[in-house]
Symmetry: C2
Subunit: 267 residues, 2 copies
C-alpha cells in the first residue's frame, strides 16, 4: 500500500473536499478483518523492540472533529500492545495553570521518552484550531504558533522522536449519525455534550482552520496524513499500516550487551 | 476464590518462608488457560466503565526482587485493556532532581486520575527497601517513611483511589533460573545487569526488609497481597482475579446524563 497517497505536501493549498471521507481504496472489510491479527502481531513485536532498544520514540498525534473517532482509533489500534510501552494522553480544555504558560508547556510534559510510543488524543494543534474558530487568537498569533510548532517538532525529532500526525476526516453526515448513535445508546450517552452541537454549527470554519493548519505544518519529516474516517474499519487498518511502515523504517533493535553472557556465573 | 488468603494482616509479624513461592492452590495450568479470555473480557468491561464514570481510580503497586516478574505481570494482565485508560509508570533509580525532593514527590505526579488504572512498576516502596538494604537510611527514617506512606495512601483513598499492592514472591532458585534464561537468550540479554548479582547476594537482607515493610504498611483499605510467583501462569491468574474482585467491588457505572436524549435534534 502506498501510504504517501494520504500524506499532505508541505505548503500545498489544501481543500478538504478533495479528500473523500468514505474512501476505501478498493479494500474490502473482509480482507481487513483477515489481516488484522497479523498486523497487530507485527505491531506488538516492533513495539517490544522499540521499548528494549530505548533509543527512539514515536509520537502519534490524533486530531479530528467531535465524534471523529480519536477514542475508537486508540482503542482499536493500540489495544493489544504492552501498556508499559504505550502512553496515551487525552488533552482537555486547558486549566488556568496551563493557560498561564505557553501553549506547548502542557504537552511537552507528555512527549514520549526513549523507547515509548506516545499517543496524543487532541494535542497542541487545538491551539491553532479551536482557538482560531472561536476568535481567541488572530492571524498573526496563528502564524507565530505554526512556527513554534515546527520548531517544537524539530526538537523532538532531534532527540530521536518520530512524529505521525493523523487528521481523521469525517463527513458532516457521518458526524450526525454518530451523535445520534450516542444519544440512542444508554452506554454511549455520556460521550455526548450539548456543546457538540454548537461546535457542529461551526463546521465550515473548522474546515478552513484544518486546511490552513495541515498545509502549514505538514513537513517531510513530520507529515500529516488525512485518513478517510467514515468507515471505522478502514480508518483503523490504514492507521495501523502507517504505524507499521513507520516503525519498520525506524527499525528498532534489541540492544547488544557489554558483557559476555557465557562468562557469568550465578551463585 | 478466597483472595483474602493472600492478604497480609496489618501489624502481624510476617515470615516470608511461611508463604510458598510455588503454590498453585490446587489450580491447574489448563483451567487457568481456559478461563483467561473470559476474565480478560470482564476486566476490559470494568475498565471501560471506570473510565466512563470518571469518579474513582485504581492504583496497582508491583514490588518484587529482580526478575520477580513485574514486567511480565504487566504484560500479561494489562495487555488487552484500552491503553487510554491504563497508565504504567516504571520507576528507575531516582535522578538528582528527584532526590532533591521528598521520596513521595516523584510518584505523586503519576498517581491515577479519576477514571484511570495506574500501575507502578516499582514504587515509593523502593525507598524503604533498597535504601534500607544499602544502609542509606536508618531505622528511624524507615519508621517515619512508613508513617508518610500510610498518610499518602489515605490521601489517595480520600479522593477515590483504590490501592492494590502486590509482592510477587519468588524463590532464590527461581531467580537463578530466570537470570540464567536471560543470559541464554539473545532477545532477553538486555534485561540482565551485572548489578543483579550483587543485589542477589543481599537476598536475606531483602527478605527482612520486605517482611517488615509488608507488615507495617498492609492496612485494611490498602492491603498487601503476597503472590506465589514462581509459576507465571498462576501469578497472572491470581493478580487478575484480585483486580477483578476489586473492580467489581468498586462497581463503576456509566454516568447518567443531565439532558433528555430524546429531545435533542441534530441539524
Amino acid at each position: 500500500m502506498k501510504i504517501e497517497a494520504y500524506q499532505i505536501r508541505e505548503g500545498k493549498k489544501l481543500n478538504l473536499k478533495d479528500h473523500p471521507t468514505d474512501g476505501t481504496k478498493g479494500v474490502s472489510k473482509e480482507e481487513v478483518k483477515v489481516r488484522k491479527p497479523q498486523l497487530k502481531l507485527q505491531l506488538v513485536k516492533l513495539q517490544e523492540q522499540l521499548y528494549a532498544e530505548e533509543q527512539q520514540s514515536l509520537l502519534v498525534v490524533l486530531q479530528t472533529r467531535d465524534a471523529g473517532g480519536k477514542d475508537g482509533t486508540i482503542k482499536h489500534v493500540f489495544t493489544g500492545l504492552n501498556p508499559q510501552g504505550v502512553n496515551v494522553t487525552a488533552f482537555k480544555e486547558p486549566t488556568p495553570l496551563e493557560l498561564s504558560h505557553d501553549f506547548l508547556w502542557r504537552v511537552h510534559a507528555h512527549t514520549p521518552a526513549a523507547g515509548m510510543i506516545g499517543v496524543f488524543n487532541r494535542s497542541y494543534y487545538e491551539d491553532v484550531l479551536v482557538t482560531r474558530v472561536h476568535g481567541e487568537v488572530d492571524k498573526q498569533d496563528i502564524q507565530r504558533r505554526y512556527d513554534e510548532i515546527r520548531a517544537f517538532e524539530i526538537s523532538l525529532q532531534n532527540r530521536g522522536t518520530r512524529i505521525l500526525k493523523f487528521h481523521l476526516n469525517i463527513s458532516k453526515d457521518e458526524q450526525k449519525r454518530r451523535f445520534q448513535d450516542r444519544l440512542d445508546k444508554p452506554r454511549k450517552q455520556w460521550k455526548f455534550s450539548e456543546n457538540d452541537l454548537s461546535e457542529r454549527a461551526l463546521w465550515d470554519d473548522y474546515t478552513k482552520a484544518y486546511e490552513d493548519t495541515l498545509s502549514a505544518t505538514s513537513t517531510p519529516t513530520a507529515p500529516w496524513y488525512i485518513i478517510p474516517a467514515d468507515h471505522k474499519w478502514f480508518r483503523n487498518d490504514l492507521v495501523t499500516q502507517i504505524l507499521l511502515e513507520t516503525l519498520n523504517d525506524m527499525n528498532p533493535q534489541f540492544p547488544e550487551v557489554d558483557f559476555d553472557p557465557t562468562k557469568i556465573v550465578i551463585e
